[in-house]
Symmetry: C2
């Protein structure tokens, strides 16, 4: 511990700072700064930490010869990590070891054999951009404290709006995740229906109804609960066998709601459903929404990436007609989590009017610059991370054409995988893939002679969880599984990263067979 | 552009990967991967980028001899940054230059002369932890994909609950910001009042009322709008001159709501108000909430840090009695944005029941481990960043005692600043500081002979914005300003970083005088 007369934290500048303390800090006599064990040489500390990150979380974590995960049970991992927080601090070397351990026991989502979620792989440009966001550490509510990031967000939103095809422009904001973006859509639809609701609430309004398909994301339901609308006022529209919303069924549900005296407010169409990767027919849904004057939102969190591809953007045909779009750049397009845009086709500052609270300590109107650059009051958040920068830098580096080719490549890989599945004994597609999702069953030899029916299904239902357990404990592979409608557990593979080759997809099928053949 | 027969992205492992492609990728014949300009040597790219971050965003940005900001108008900065996104990609060296530029023109929130928000400074341990979060890139919804971060979050929440003093434990979750945490409180209060609201909405319920003080944060109002309750159903309770909620006035408002036939649902007390840093009297408010059976939430986003200090935790006396707490670790406690905990005193899984949607593709119940570690369904988000790790690592490094001493030091510094202000001609405190906020006016010589009254106030109102403009354009200092109630614009100083010395505070007052004395 150093003397109390040196109150300056022994930080980065300590060795090179000019003389700063003209007065003895008499006021501080009772405050003892612990500048001993807790103040490393920070330049050296940063260098060492960055080497660990580069070696362990970048190079090793993306190396196909390494494990995808070092499985430990929660109980075991708790002991290994020594999680307890104590009165005293730890040495620099101990902290660096904790950094190594945190990376070691984390799942390697950047590994070419990680297929467990709708994100995977490492995009170096975007990862570097995310480090810059962390180091610069600011909040994109005002131009004043985030000049670069405010302009970057504006540019990226405009470009995305252009790709959606809203020729008259639009507005938007980045949110911490697609669920919140979907909730923004509900709130805007409600505000457009009746702006007074912002002030008075919905106690005196008619019952409001939101419509989404049975394959739509659960965030619509969570949003309905949060917004005071209620989960039973989310009307579930049936989808066809491919997972696409059935437009005639949508119209039936709208009519039902109206007959009940409720107000159908918004339709949520999905571009790229979570499990099957299905695209709701936006054109036909837009016709119905126009007829009944409903807000049409498209949850394109997963499928929005197809807008980058000349070849596949037809999947979202009609999106230029919708009112709002959620589009996550951290999924297929590989920005680090989170990078989620909400776009709205509107030129009347609906987003601002719906969400603003005009905090006088933050959004002063007597600033020395054009305060229309202070976009934070469009958000329901106060502080907000500069997520747009992560994708802007990546887009600058790769260009639109390359982004489109990556999407094309993902779909080619999905198609390759589907064909391999069809060729192999013991593998069966749930459905022919429309996008990058490939859902399939692995049927172990012991079940191959059973006829289709409840007995097979019951046994098959246990296969994916057991194979999953084995792949995690071995650390060779991570693939997600789930039930779908009344069907037994199936695997869902999604190819995202350009690091994944067709040999890796062969490996996936070989490995599942290896792990499951004795079941 | 490389041949289409080499489909593997020329990434990190390219030079050292084992032979991987046993089959020619016939399926990919139409996909051309652009592996030329867009595929740098990634190890070298990461090294170069990390050097830039270390030199520009860590060393230079925290160096007192450098500017706090390189002010450019939005129009000028747009041109400088060349924001447009194009079809083609850019060279590695151009991207590295963009990294340098992004940092150069960003405000240096880590600089010892940045006092513009309720966050400031750089905590190296936490910054390194944030890099790890970005590089590992996962989401804390399931143990399966975030084993380390799930356990770290659980540990940190338990420790914070211990510090709040809930002896029987509690529950919690990290959110992207305190605004969302405050909204969680409203939603939980509503769910406790009537769990069916989750399903049926609030169309048929009595009007619900939330109570907060006139000094409370605007997120309560934003939350009321979002949750369908409405901003006019936020009843504003008067505060005393120090900014503390007046308990008798609270009780009056509760009675009023009841007389109107409405249902008072929740009281939001504030521990550390945004402008004055005032602490509402929790004990007395808790008595009233008990009497009327209201949910008591404490917005301790700013003031929660005092719980770390043996000397100052009395400011939150009574917090062990409340139902929920929002506490941001990215403010006084210096984790990078965002690191915001929501805590709830509950042992009945209220958070889970209120928010869950049980998505079958994510929260499978037939996993090979105890799925109570899959905490994501407590959130209204789907993907969620592992923010807890940023503070856990820092806490490990510094220890509780040092964290407490830092809080003590901030308050000593605020007290020093207040005394200096009282000593100096032309400076006037708005109020004696109770916490780390020091609000004051600078009165230029030309106004010093005016008597107190509307004319002085009108002229004084323009001083802070003008001085602020000058400090930003010079790049010497950033301090926030705002009106408070009917008072003219005043500066609000907040000392957070242990890098800030009393000499820096002298500099702040000298510099404001320099910049404003000719006004």
């Amino acid at each position: 511990m150093t003397s109390t007369s040196e109150i300056h934290f022994n930080g980065l500048n300590s060795s090179e700072s000019p003389v700063r303390h003209s007065k003895p800090p008499a006021m501080l006599s009772t405050v003892v700064m612990n500048n001993g064990v807790n103040s490393p040489n920070l330049e050296s500390f940063f260098h060492q930490a960055m080497e660990i990150i580069l070696n362990e979380a970048v190079k090793k974590a993306t190396d196909i010869r390494e494990k995808v995960c070092e499985w430990r049970s929660p109980e075991c991992l708790k002991e290994l990590l020594d999680l307890e927080l104590r009165d005293g601090g730890e040495s620099e070397s101990m902290i660096l070891q904790r950094c190594r351990d945190a990376i070691k026991y984390s799942v390697k989502t950047t590994h070419p054999h990680f297929f467990n979620q709708l994100y995977a792989g490492m995009e170096p440009y975007s990862t570097v951009a995310s480090f810059i966001c962390e180091a610069v550490n600011t909040s994109v509510y005002t131009y004043e404290v985030a000049p670069v990031f405010t302009l970057v967000e504006d540019t990226l939103l405009r470009k995305m709006i252009e790709m959606v095809g809203w020729e008259e422009g639009g507005d938007g904001i980045f949110n911490p995740g697609g669920s919140l973006s979907n909730m923004y859509a509900v709130n805007l639809a409600r505000y457009r229906y009746c702006p007074d609701i912002k002030k008075t609430g919905i106690f005196a309004t008619k019952r409001l109804v939101i419509l989404t398909s049975q394959e739509g994301h659960y965030s619509i339901s969570k949003g309905a609960a949060l917004l005071g609308i209620g989960t039973t006022n989310v009307y579930i529209v049936p989808s066809d066998k491919s997972g696409r919303m059935i437009p005639s069924a949508l119209e039936e549900q709208i009519k039902t709601a109206k007959q009940e005296g409720a107000v159908p407010l918004m339709v949520n169409a999905t571009a790229g459903t979570t499990v099957l990767g299905a695209f709701d027919p936006i054109e036909e849904i837009a016709d119905i929404c126009k007829k009944y004057n409903l807000w049409l939102h498209v949850d394109a969190c997963w499928g929005g990436a197809a807008l980058m591809s000349k070849k596949h953007k037809h999947l979202l045909r009609g999106i230029h007609r919708v009112n709002s779009v959620s589009w996550n750049l951290h999924k297929m397009l590989m920005a680090p989590l989170q990078c989620s845009a909400f776009l709205v086709r509107d030129k009347t500052s609906l987003l601002q009017h719906c969400h603003s609270a005009q905090a006088t300590y933050l959004f002063q109107q007597d600033k020395c610059y054009d305060v229309s650059y202070d976009t934070g009051d469009k958000s329901i958040q106060c502080g907000r991370k500069p997520d747009a920068f992560k994708f802007w830098l990546m887009w600058k580096a790769l260009g639109t054409a390359e982004l489109g080719q990556r999407v094309d490549r993902s779909l080619v890989m999905a198609s390759y995988l589907a064909q391999e599945i069809k060729k192999r004994e013991g593998f069966q597609l749930l459905i022919e893939p429309e996008y990058a999702n490939v859902c399939f069953w692995y049927i172990p030899p012991s079940l191959r002679n059973l006829s289709d029916g409840p007995e097979l299904w019951k046994k098959l239902h246990t296969v994916a969880p057991l194979v999953k357990e084995r792949m995690m404990k071995k650390g060779s592979l991570m693939v997600g599984y789930q039930t779908h409608r009344d069907k037994p557990n199936c695997f869902r593979m999604v190819v995202i990263s350009p690091e994944v080759s067709n040999a890796d997809l062969d490996f996936v099928l070989d490995e599942i067979d290896n792990l499951g053949k004795n079941l």
